[in-house]
Subunit: 337 residues, 4 copies
C-alpha cells in the first residue's frame, strides 16, 4: 500500500479504452497508465465521471481498479472511484480496493434521487464508519446530490476516514468556505478541484490540487500549470490557464461528455474505442468536426500535426495572443497602481 | 406471456420489502403483490423509482422481476423497470424479462450524465432496435435526462417497439403536446402519468392511466379516482383528487423519497423493513412523527385506527371539507354562468 | 364603480397599441377595448405582463388605466395592474385606480430582487393594509419572487382586501393546494390561472377563471373554452383546449414575449405598432416568418384569410384531427372500462 | 467631466440613506460620499443593485446622481446606474448624466422578462447607438437576463460606446472567457467583478477592478485587498480575502438584500434609515440579531466596539486563524513541491 500522506497534485480521472467488442481494452489501458505517469501526473483517479463509472458493471469497475493498481505498481497514488448501488456494496468495494493497495477512494454523493443534507450526511457517515480506507468526498452538484458546506464540516469533524473533498462545482467562494470551515480542525484535510478552467485560482486560494480531465489529454499542460502556480509564478501560470481554457471548453462543451475527451485522447496516440453511450448520426458527424478542431488546438500546442485539410482559418482568438494581452494590460494596471 | 393490448389503468410502482438483513423479503413481497391485485390495481411496475431500482444490484433487480412475475401468474400485466448500466446490459434485461412473460419494460432516460436530446434519442433507439419486448419511455426530468416532445415523436415514429411513455413531470400542457404529436400517427401509443397529484386532470386531457406511487399504499383511492374520472363523474372525481392530494404530498415531501411511502405501507399491515439509504438520527425522529401524521390521514379514510395518542388536533384543513366547499363554489359558478 | 362580487371568467391582459412615435395609440386602444368586450371577454386586465407594464413610465401606466376605464364605462370589470417602484407608490396607484372605478388591482410579487416568503408577505401586507381597493396577488415565478402556498394562506387570513390570486405557474397541483388552504376560510376568494394551455383542467379542479393572453387575440376561443368547461361539456372543451394549445405555444415561444401576441393581434385587424423592446434584424426576420405561421393557424380557425403564399405545407399536426383522435381513444377507454 | 481613461479599481455601489419619512436623506448621503472617498474607494456607483435603484422613482434616481455628482465634484469618477423603463427613457438618462459629468453609465440587462441573447443584444445596441456617454454592461444573471459571452463580444465589436462590463455572476471561467474574446480587439475594455468573495482571484486572472458592496461598509479592507493583489503580494491578499469572506457572506445571506449592508453601514456611524422594502416582524427581529453578529465581525477588524452583551461566544471560525492556517498549509505544499 502507498505510504499515507496528504492528497495533493494532479490526479487524472482517466478514460477507459474499449476494444471493438466494447470490452475493456486492457493492453491499451496499461499503456495509457504508463504514458500518464511518464508525463507527470501525480496520481490516477479511475472510475470517476470522465471514466464513465456508471456505464460499467460492478465487476468491470473492480477489474478497472485491478488493472490500474497492477500497472501503476506503486509509482503514483491511486484514488479509486468506489460508489456502488448502496452503502453495503460500496463498503465492500472500499475493502477490496484497500486490499489492492490504492491510496484512497472517492465516493460521489448519491445520485438519481436528490437527497437532503441529512441524507447525504447519513450516507457518507455509514460508509466512513465501516471503511478500512481513506475516503474522498466527491461533490458534483450538476450530476449528484450536492454536499453543502455544513455537511462537509460535519463529516470532517466526525469521520477520521474522510480525508479530502473533490469539488467539481467550479465555485471558488464555495471552495474557500469549505477550507475556512475544515482546515482549522483538520489541517491535513485535502481540497481538490475538478474544474480545470479554474485550476490556477483554486490553487491560489488554497486547494491542494485537482482531479482534472484535461490532465488525461494534455498532462504536460495541466501539470505545468500546477507547478507554475505553486511556485508563485503567477504571470506564467495565468498565461497557461488562458491557454488551457479553450482546450477544456472545447472538449467539455462540444460533445456529450466525455466524448470530447475521448476524441482528443485519440489524437494523442491512443485508441479509446467507441464509448458505451450510443451516438446518433448527427452526433457522429459532429464528433468528426470536433476532432479536426481539437487537432488544430493540440497542434498549436505542439502535441500533434495539423489535420490534412490544415487549420486554414485561424481560430478567431489565439490563446497565446490572449495571454500576452492580458499580461500587458495587467502590468500597466500594476504600474499605474 | 400477457396478451398484448394498450397499456392503461393504474400500475403500481411497488416498494420492495426488505428483511432484517436488508435482503429482499420474498414472502412479504409476494403477499404485497396479492394484496395490490386484490385491491384493484390494473398492473404492477417493479423496479421503478419508488422501487428504488438504483439501490439494488443487477442480480437483485432480476430477482425482483422473477418473484413478481411468478406471483402475479398472469393476473395483471407487469411493466418491468429494465434500465441497466449501458445499452447492452439493458437489452439483456429486456430479453430476460421477455422470457419471464412481462407485458412491457419501462426504461428511464440516462441519468447521472445529463444528455442532450440527440443522446437521449440515440440511447433509446439502440435499445428499441434490439429489444424483443415492448418499451415504455420513462421521463422524470427531476432525476434523469429529460425526454423532450420532439424526441418522443421521433422515437414513436421510428421504433414500433416503443409503445408508451410514462411521464413524471406533472406538467399537463407537456403531456398534451406529446399526445398531440404522437397519437395521430400511433393511436395505440399509451400515455401514463407518474404524478398522482394531477391524475384526474391528466386522464381528462387524454392519458391512458398512471404509474402512481399512492396506489401502492391506498390502491382503493387511486383506483377509484381512475374509475370515477373515466366514467365522467367529474364532481366525485374531483372530490377524491382533493382527498388524495394531502396523502400524496405528505408521503412525498415529508421525508427522503420513498421513505414516506414505506412508512405508510407499514400502516397498511406490511413490513417494508428499513430502506437501503441510511437515515440519520434526525431523519429517524422525523420519520416517527411522520408515521403518526400518516396514520391520522389514513385513519380519516378508514384504512387504519388512529394512533394511540389520538389525532387530537384536527388537521388544519380537512380534505372532505375542502372537497365539499370546492364543489359548492363550482356549482354556484355554473349556476350563474 | 362596478358592484362587487366574485372575480370570475376570462380577463384579457391586453396589449397597448403604440403609434409611429412609440406613444400610446389611444384611438386604437379604445377600438381594441370595444372589440374585446364585443367578443365576450368577462373583464379587462391592463398593465399585466402581456401589457408590458414595466416598459411604460408611471405616468403612462396611469394613463392606460384612465383610457380603459373611460372606454369600458362599466360594461365589464377592470383588473388593473398596480405594481409601482415601492409600496408607497403602489398604494397611491391603488387609490387612484379606486377613484377611477376599477373592480380590483393586480399586484405582481416584487421582482428583480428575489425575496424570501417573509419578504413577499411583508410587501403585500403593507399594501393590503393601506389599499382602498380589492387586491389580486399575482404569482409569476418565472419573472418575479414566488408567492408560495403558506404565504397565500397567510395573506388570505390576515387581509380582507386580498380577494384573489392570479397564478401563472401553470402548475395544477400548486393551484389545488392553494384552493385547499384558502377556500375553507375564504369561500369568496378567487383563483385565476394565467396559463392558457391548462385552462380547462384548471377550471375543472376549481379555478374561477383566467387572465389569459390568448383571449386578447382569439377571445372567441378562450371564452368558449371557459363556457364549455363550466357547462361540463368535457369532450367539447377538450377539443377546444387541444386547438388552443398550438396557438398559445406559437405566440408564446416563437418570439420574445409578447411579440408573438402583438403579431397575431395585427392579423385580427389592429395596429399594435412596434413594441418598446428593440428587435434585432434576425428577430425581425423571424417575426415576419412567425406572422405567416400565425396567419395559417388563425385562417384554420376562420379568423383570417390565408397568407398570399398560401399555407401550402399543411401543419404536421392538424389541431382538429388531434382533438378527434384523442376523443376517439378516450371513448374506447371508457367503453372498455 | 472626468478625463476619460480605463475604468479600474474599486467602485462603491452605495446605499442611499433615507430619512424618517422615507425620503432621500441628502445630508447623510453627502456625508457618506465624503467618507467613502476619504477611505480610498476609486469611484462611486450609485443606482446599482445595492443602491436599490428599482425602488426609487425615475425622478429620485436622477436626484441621487445629481447629489453625488455635486458632492464628488470630480474627486473620483462616477459610474451611474442608468436603466429606465425602456430604451428611450434610458437614453434620456444617459444624456442627463453626461451633462452632469459622470464618467460612464452602467446599464443592467433587461429584467422581469427574460430575454434571449438576440433581445439583450438589440437592447444594448439601441442604447449604445444613441448614448453620448460611455456604457458599462451590467450582467447579473440572478436578477436579470444573462449577457452571454458571444453577446458581450458582439457589443464590444460593434459599439465603441460600450467600454466595460460589470459581471456579478462570480463565475471565474466565465470572466476569463469574456476577457479572452474581447481584449484582443479592445485592449482598453474594462472588466469589473461584482462578486466580492472572488475579488482577489478575479483580479489575478485579469479583471480591472470591482463594484463591490463590501467597499461601502469596509472600504479599508476592499481597497487594501485590491492593492495587495495588484502589487502581487499574494499571501497577504489571500489572508485578506479570507477575512472579507465571512463579512460578505453575513451581510449578503443573513437578510433580504441589501438589508445586511444597511445594518452594517449603521455600525460604521451612518444613519441609512429603513429600507423601502417592508420587513415583517420576524425579519425585524432577525435584523436585530444580525446587527449584533455584524458588530462582532466589525469589532474583530477594529472598526467598532463590541456590542454591550459582548461577543462572548467566539465565532466558531476565526478569520485570522483561517488565514494563518491556509498560509501555512500552502507554504508546506510549496516547500515539498
Amino acid at each position: 500500500m502507498e505510504s499515507r500522506g496528504r492528497l495533493k497534485g494532479i490526479f487524472t480521472p482517466n478514460i477507459v479504452p474499449l476494444d471493438r467488442q466494447g470490452e475493456i481494452a486492457e493492453g491499451e489501458l496499461r499503456r495509457y497508465v504508463d504514458w500518464l505517469i511518464a508525463h507527470g501526473v501525480h496520481g490516477l483517479y479511475p472510475n470517476g465521471s470522465t471514466g464513465e463509472f456508471t456505464r460499467f458493471t460492478p465487476e468491470e469497475r473492480k477489474r478497472i481498479i485491478e488493472i490500474i493498481a497492477d500497472q501503476t505498481a506503486g509509482r503514483v497514488p491511486i484514488l479509486a472511484g468506489a460508489a456502488e448501488a448502496n452503502t453495503r456494496e460500496t463498503i465492500r468495494a472500499c475493502e477490496y480496493y484497500y486490499e489492492l493497495g490504492v491510496r484512497a477512494v472517492a465516493i460521489v454523493s448519491p445520485f438519481y434521487y436528490r437527497l437532503t443534507s441529512e441524507g447525504v450526511y447519513a450516507y457518507f457517515k455509514e460508509i466512513a464508519d465501516h471503511s478500512p480506507i481513506d475516503i474522498t468526498l466527491y461533490n458534483i452538484p450538476l450530476f449528484a446530490s450536492p454536499i453543502d458546506v455544513p455537511t462537509v464540516k460535519r463529516l470532517a469533524a466526525e469521520c477520521p476516514r474522510v480525508v479530502a473533498i473533490k469539488d467539481s462545482s467550479g465555485d471558488l467562494p464555495h471552495m474557500m468556505r469549505m477550507i475556512a470551515e475544515v482546515r482549522p480542525m483538520r489541517p491535513e484535510f485535502s481540497f481538490l478541484t475538478g474544474w480545470d478552467a479554474a485550476l490556477m485560482p483554486m490553487l491560489l486560494i488554497g486547494c491542494d490540487g485537482g482531479t482534472n480531465a484535461t490532465s488525461g489529454v494534455v498532462p504536460e499542460i495541466t501539470r505545468r500549470l500546477y507547478d507554475l502556480t505553486i511556485e508563485g509564478r503567477i504571470d506564467d501560470a495565468r498565461d497557461l490557464q488562458y491557454r488551457l481554457l479553450p482546450l477544456f471548453d472545447t472538449m467539455l462543451y462540444s460533445a456529450e461528455f466525455p466524448e470530447g475527451f475521448r476524441a482528443a485522447l485519440k489524437l494523442r496516440g491512443f485508441e479509446p474505442g467507441r464509448g458505451r453511450q450510443p451516438q446518433s448520426e448527427i452526433q457522429q458527424l459532429a464528433l468528426q468536426k470536433l476532432a479536426d478542431q481539437l487537432q488544430c488546438l493540440l497542434a498549436a500546442e505542439g502535441f500533434t500535426s495539423e489535420p490534412i485539410a490544415g487549420c486554414g482559418v485561424r481560430p478567431a482568438v489565439d490563446p497565446s495572443q490572449v495571454a500576452r494581452i492580458v499580461r500587458q494590460v495587467m502590468s500597466e494596471l500594476q504600474a499605474k497602481g
